[in-house]
């Protein structure tokens, strides 16, 4: 599978200039740190040196990145619209909100238990996504239970039991830790 579903010139898309500049800056910075972040070993062939592959890859990133930036500037010199670039960068930042949701979910699971946290997460995210139909909340709850039962209960994936389960009676606690 590849990701070439959308033909067309990527360079013309707003945001490409910001991306190309940041990518080149980071690549160049990492390349400049080659000496301090890798080690050279004496009496070892060039291709076996620990710095060899980081140098090759960062060289490729910097070289291609510089050419890509030049291409973007060349393609967009008549179209350059800094407000469109900033607007696109704003859309990228919106994805950070949901990465925050994901991290909070991952942080709460060992405390609140996989099943309760997943149900709560799915319901809250359904609400955040703007849905108000009762059917979708039921579907979200049902999906959460199904995911937990299939993955933890049936397939036995390694997800720790929640700290909250400690307050349960011993028999129920063990059951919840193992299956939910």
């Amino acid at each position: 599978m590849s990701d070439r579903t959308q033909p067309g010139r990527a360079a013309a898309h707003p945001g490409n200039l910001v991306f190309a500049v940041v990518f080149l800056a980071i690549s160049g910075l990492l390349l400049s740190m080659l000496g301090e972040q890798t080690r050279a070993v004496r009496r070892v062939a060039l291709t076996s040196q620990p710095w060899f592959w980081p140098a090759i890859s960062l060289g490729a990133m910097t070289g291609f990145g510089a050419l890509h930036l030049a291409f973007v500037l060349w393609e967009r010199h008549r179209l350059l619209d800094l407000s469109a670039e900033a607007q696109e960068a704003g859309i990228w930042l919106r994805a950070l909100e949901y990465s925050g949701w994901f991290l909070v979910y991952a942080w709460v699971v060992p405390l609140g238990g996989y099943l309760p946290t997943t149900i709560l997460f799915a319901l809250l995210l359904t609400w955040r996504a703007g849905y108000r139909e009762r059917g979708l909340y039921l579907a979200a709850g049902g999906l959460s239970v199904a995911v937990v039962v299939i993955f933890k209960g049936f397939l036995g994936v390694r997800i720790p039991g929640g700290a909250v389960y400690e307050v349960l009676p011993p028999t129920l606690r063990n059951f919840m830790i193992v299956y939910f």
Binding site: S2, R39, W53, S57, G63, Y98
Partner: protein, 498 residues
């Protein structure tokens, strides 16, 4: 023959048969939901198979890999939205057919063409197995290094119009796999004195971030959409007969899929492009292509479905994945202690045959399933997109967190998720990052081993296979340079004329 029978015996086990059925049906469903795709599904399910028997886990994931493209044709034809990226070309002729009231015929033809492609490809795979068993051991470290390098070169050059961006991303992938402790002397590389970077970036975490989380973030941030597709009335068996009228296009498509699938870094897109171009050029009605030509639909569906089995050839014989799904299948094999490479055909031929037969069987299972349940799948397509984003987020958590119960892994995956959103918004390629990570690791270890016996640069290519691959690399790069110079020349002339 004995090997084939032994392989068939493996599939008789109830747990393997169940895994095949669940994987095949699951793959079709996943393929039919736009915005999920097999890469996301395999990445999510991979940790869940850790506890399973190797053959059971491999068969389930192989089922998803081999069947998703069947399902992907349904939304491509009925709602003009490809279920998987590979089905994009299916929309060109499939949707216009549906728009003029021939949805049933288009679906039926697509399933039949996919079946032809899939079966042809697996038969080639089975027939090639004895040849591979003889040829694969001739690949030493330098040949495998050169084959991996060819894969990187091809995956970059295959991104026409985005070669520079693909080069950047391939470089990034190779860099990511170098971070952490270096494998021979255990010196630290780009760890910035951070203990969490010492073990480097896990491929599954990066894949889940770039494919699953990015897709979830994208669906959640963009406008909600509730795809609608009218139910298909009548049976879907007609295409099985009609495909005979288009046998030439189906055969060329399947052949092109096998040919392109074998070459690392090329894959479905080039296979479909070649097959579609051939069909258009040789059709008595070329003007109908893109407007609902059944030949065009047959050409692309037979080509894309022939690729998965063919792509298993370099993966199993050399341990070299040609695209993202095979890169992930490589980690599936490693996790289950099956090491793809030249020795596999000598030591585990029965397992290989079992996997081939599983691929063969899944094509039959999927077609039977689709003939009777397409309307059921149409209900699944209607999931609102933001709700789908929430579902992917819940499922992706299982994939990331169950690897090592690490919040750091979740943070890394989330960071790659945001990066993936940027790449998808800018329509920049993601695949070269993953192939860079996998092939970069192979190149590093193989070059180090190969250089022990190399005194001069010419020694590196003094064996026939190494020399052939080297010449291929040079030819591919040379052809690209010539095409670029010609392109510039013709553009310059056009501007002068204007």
């Amino acid at each position: 023959m004995e090997m084939i029978l032994s392989g068939a015996m493996l599939l008789m086990r109830w747990d393997v048969a169940a895994a095949l059925a669940i994987g095949s049906v699951g793959g079709v469903i996943i393929g039919a939901i736009p915005g999920v795709g097999p890469a996301v599904a395999i990445a999510i399910l991979l940790p869940a198979t850790f506890a399973l028997d190797p053959l059971v886990g491999l068969t389930a994931l192989l089922g998803i890999y081999g069947s998703s493209m069947y399902g992907g044709a349904i939304p491509a034809i009925l709602i003009n939205t490809p279920g998987t990226a590979v089905n994009a070309l299916t929309t060109y002729d499939g949707h216009p057919m549906a728009a003029r009231g021939e949805g049933r015929r288009a679906l039926s033809l697509a399933f039949a063409a996919s079946f032809v492609g899939g079966i042809f490809s697996v038969i080639c795979l089975i027939l090639l197995a004895p040849v591979l068993a003889k040829v694969a051991p001739l690949f030493g470290s330098r040949e495998i290094f050169l084959a991996a390098l060819l894969g990187i070169v091809l995956v970059v050059l295959a991104h026409r119009g985005q070669i520079l961006a693909a080069g950047m991303m391939a470089g990034l992938g190779i860099f990511l796999q170098t971070v952490g402790l270096e494998p021979v002397r255990y010196t630290r590389r780009y760890t910035f004195e951070q203990s969490w970077l010492a073990s480097g970036f896990d491929l599954i975490v990066v894949v889940l971030g770039l494919f699953a989380l990015s897709q979830a973030f994208l669906l959640l941030t963009e406008r909600d959409n509730r795809p609608r597709a009218a139910p298909v009335r009548g049976g879907l068996f007609s295409g099985m007969g009609e495909i005979w009228q288009h046998r030439r296009y189906a055969a060329v498509g399947a052949g092109s899929g096998v040919g392109m699938g074998i070459i690392p870094g090329v894959g479905e897109f080039t296979a479909q492009f070649l097959s579609y171009t051939y069909a258009q050029k040789t059709s008595p009605r070329p003007e109908t292509f893109g407007k609902g030509a059944p030949e065009g639909l047959v050409a692309c569906e037979s080509a894309n479905n022939a690729v998965p089995a063919a792509a298993m050839i370099p993966l199993l014989a050399l341990g070299i994945p040609g695209e993202v799904l095979t890169a992930m299948m490589l980690s599936v094999f490693y996790v289950h202690n099956v090491i793809p490479g030249p020795e596999l055909f000598q030591t585990q031929m029965v397992l290989v045959m079992g996997l081939y037969l599983a691929l063969l069987l899944l094509n039959v299972l999927v077609v039977v399933f689709l003939l009777f349940s397409t309307n059921l799948l149409l209900k699944i397509i209607r999931i609102p997109t933001r709700f789908l984003g929430m579902m992917i987020l819940v499922l992706a958590f299982v994939g990331v967190y169950s690897l090592r119960n690490s919040l750091t892994d979740c943070a890394i995956a989330a960071a790659f998720g945001v990066f993936g959103v940027i790449l998808k918004r800018l329509k920049l390629p993601i695949v070269p990052i993953i192939l860079g990570m996998v092939l970069g690791g192979i190149m590093e270890t193989r070059l180090r081993t190969a250089m022990v016996r190399v005194n001069t640069p010419l020694d590196f290519i003094d064996r026939p296979i190494a020399a052939t691959i080297f010449v291929l690399i040079m030819l591919v790069i040379g052809a690209q340079v010539v095409a670029w110079v010609r392109g510039r020349g013709s553009r310059g002339r056009t501007e002068t004329d204007a």
